[in-house]
């Protein structure tokens, strides 16, 4: 805190997703780009700070999924305080953190689906934005709106009970957790008055999956075709190949399902992952080193996770997983719009995992933390709602952080989101010299599939603010549309 850091306005996270499209002499799309402004500032803010402050400080990166940053930082610091990587914690420490994480995953996925995606599904992607929003859903489909609100609330209450507060809590500390689950909270989550109990949450999660499957049946062509492109997929998986959102080893598969990275200890992530800087974007482009920049980029998030894992260790979600896998004959699913489907299967999985954990006596008693010999470097990786999240810290012998590197989920999805925008531009802008309303809508739908952590993507009314500029071959701006 001894140095002043000036943040130029342009480096702030702002409310618009910016897209630029360049046409050639024949008015064909020559290039399209999504410009995302990223939060690199935090890597500087934490320098010089005492290491144990990081999980509380860095979670301020985000108001939507702060728990992911809180836990990824805590996991990195577990390594530093000698508590091991993931498996080394006490049963209470690990299980309380897992409960916090599933609560987070549950509320974030519910928010995304009900508040941001359901308006598109219910009213159609081309519907008037004035009704295609969460208020519109509340007016016309009250049941769905209530489900969305209550599921989110349930997840947030789980976060409150484990982290101390619904947003920006302090539960995870280096080497474990700072509290047990109270009997009162446990009973509330298990048998609270309808709908605030785990049975109802599981029922509603299943209903959400069913709702999406029905929608899929009716709109198969659109869902399968829109912004489809093959890619690699990366995530953590449990050692035995199971889906694990809290801890595991890194695995990546190519679009055919061949493992291109497997059983990698994420402490070594720098050996395998490189971040490319491109002059036109503030956000870096990560890729797998051994495949190079052109071929090494990958998708992360719900779709990627269901592509990398072999099975889901909870019965209802596993059943859905099998059906999901059968759509692509067991091969990786490269359909952009299937992110929504995969996200809801994870919603169901998170609910099932919470139910199991709530029955576990370790949450209520037992040692909270553990420590060993301190070392000066630690990496924490977690599967955040939006995808794989890396936190890497190094400390000096005075307990100050001297280096931090974060690769957030949305950064990992930078190239795929650009590819999705390319898809839309090529499909809709060739030969056009004006930006149309359907084009704006399509860009919005393509980006939203990734649930990126831009403030624009989580706009309260579900209408993503976009700023799309069209340039001719001589670089003259010929059209610009901005939605608020």
């Amino acid at each position: 805190m001894s140095k002043k850091i000036t943040i130029e306005p342009v480096t702030r996270v702002e409310g618009h997703g910016k897209v630029t499209i360049h046409l050639d002499d024949q008015n064909q799309v020559a290039q399209s780009r999504l410009h995302i402004v990223e939060f690199r500032g935090f890597e500087r803010f934490v320098q010089g700070r005492p290491y144990w402050e990081a999980p509380v400080l860095v979670q301020r990166l985000c108001g939507i999924c702060p728990v992911s940053h809180h836990l990824a930082a805590a996991k990195a610091l577990d390594v530093i305080v000698g508590a091991g990587t993931g498996e080394g914690l006490t049963p209470t420490g690990e299980k309380m953190r897992r409960l916090m994480h599933y609560g987070q995953m549950f509320q974030s996925h519910a928010l995304h689906f009900f508040h941001l995606v359901s308006p598109d599904l219910l009213f159609g992607y081309d519907a008037d934005p004035a009704i295609r929003n969460v208020i519109g859903v509340a007016m016309k489909h009250k049941d769905l709106a209530v489900m969305g609100v209550m599921m989110r609330k349930y997840g947030q209450e789980v976060i409150r009970a484990t982290a101390g507060k619904k947003i920006h809590g302090t539960g995870a500390i280096p080497g474990g957790i700072n509290k047990h689950l109270t009997q009162e909270d446990k009973e509330f989550f298990q048998t609270g008055p309808d709908p605030m109990n785990i049975e109802k949450m599981i029922e509603w999660s299943q209903a959400s999956v069913d709702f999406l499957k029905n929608y899929y049946k009716e709109h198969k062509a659109f869902i399968d075709e829109f912004a489809y492109f093959p890619s690699n997929h990366l995530s953590l998986v449990r050692k035995d190949g199971a889906l694990d959102l809290y801890h595991g080893v890194l695995r990546a598969v190519d679009h055919e399902g061949n493992k291109i990275l497997d059983d990698v200890d994420y402490q070594e992530y720098e050996k395998y992952i490189q971040e490319e800087v491109r002059s036109w974007s503030y956000m870096k482009f990560p890729y797998l080193k051994h495949l190079g920049k052109e071929k090494g980029w990958y998708r992360v998030g719900p779709l990627a996770r269901l592509n990398t894992c072999d099975f889901i260790p909870s019965p209802m979600a596993q059943k859905e997983f099998e059906e999901f896998k059968s759509l692509t004959n067991g091969k990786p699913n490269n359909h952009c719009m299937h992110y929504h489907y995969a996200r809801l299967i994870e919603l169901l999985h998170s609910a099932e995992m919470m139910k199991d954990l709530l029955n576990d006596p370790d949450l209520m008693e037992g040692e909270l933390t553990t420590k060993g010999a301190k070392i000066d470097r630690g990496v924490g990786v977690i599967e955040a709602p939006r995808g794989t999240l890396f936190h890497h810290y190094e400390i000096n012998d005075k307990d100050q952080i001297v280096k931090a590197n974060l690769i957030v989920s949305t950064t990992n999805n930078n190239e795929p989101m650009n590819k999705s925008v390319n898809f839309v531009a090529n499909k809709m802008m060739n030969g056009q010299t004006e930006i149309s309303e359907p084009m704006m809508n399509a860009v919005e739908v393509a980006i939203r599939a990734y649930d990126p952590c831009l403030s624009c993507a989580t706009h309260a009314l579900g209408k993503m603010p976009l700023d799309v500029s069209l340039y001719d071959a001589k670089d003259n701006l010929i059209d610009r549309k901005i939605t608020q």
């Binding site: 005492p50 144990w52 500390i173 509290k179 307990d399």
Partner: protein
């Protein structure tokens, strides 16, 4: 009761020992006068000025002024509360207090006073002073950005021979708290714990302990500062 002196605070009849300060007597009588640098059983410093009261129309620091027989003390008046609030705001702008990431949050007396006075935005411009942290002691992390120069540590954390482990360094607006590293090397865990406890803000941090107290169990999570004062008379 015979040797006690009678006085009033906001019209309430109170009793004090001979030589007792207004602040100490007020607490004994179950009356809260806000303060930051005051700590029971320590020689008062009178530095933070939060405990300003009015006696015979004059402002006095309650922690340094002895009670006189028949004294009429004004404490809980809009004028005094506004003055105290402005001091709290001044303390906020003259340091770098970022509560969201501070481990003393919930246990911090300055923060608790800001809540008590419903401080939203300070009326003074932020200074954002440049302060250096001192991380070099094995047990303590000194976070000078948050120090309010109350001297509580200097007055209370001493070694066996009575030598203070803390002292002020430099002068004027460069004045800063300093930890004697030779003495700090002999510090026990209990002393380190006590030092963190004694600091009203998050300036003295016990290393590697941060955030081990869950939200809901911190000093001011459930009750406002001063609301637990009970009469012992």
């Amino acid at each position: 009761m015979a040797e006690k002196i009678k006085f009033t605070i906001d019209g309430k009849e109170c009793y004090a020992e001979q030589g007792q300060t207004i602040l100490a007597a007020a607490l004994d009588n179950g009356v809260y006068i806000p303060s930051l640098c005051y700590l029971k059983d320590l020689i008062p410093a009178g530095s933070c000025r939060i405990c300003n009261v009015k006696v015979s129309g004059r402002f006095m620091t309650a922690c340094t002024t002895p009670v006189n027989d028949g004294m009429e003390v004004e404490n809980n008046t809009p004028e005094l509360e506004e003055l105290r609030k402005s001091i709290v705001e001044m303390l906020f702008v003259s340091g770098n207090h970022f509560c969201p990431a501070c481990e003393k949050s919930g246990n911090c007396e300055l923060q608790a006073l800001a809540y008590k006075y419903q401080m939203m935005v300070p009326r003074f411009p932020y200074i954002f002073p440049e302060k250096e942290v001192d991380p070099s002691s094995p047990k303590l992390f000194i976070e000078r950005n948050r120090c309010i120069l109350c001297k509580r540590c200097i007055r209370s954390i001493k070694d066996e021979s009575g030598k203070s482990l803390f002292a002020f360094k430099k002068r004027g607006n460069k004045l800063m708290i300093n930890l004697d590293h030779e003495l700090a090397a002999t510090m026990t865990d209990e002393m380190a714990e006590e030092a963190m406890e004694i600091c009203p803000v998050g300036s003295i941090l016990r290393k590697e302990k941060g955030f081990d107290q869950p939200i809901g169990h911190r000093k001011f999570d459930k009750q406002a500062i001063g609301s637990d004062i009970k009469s012992v008379i």
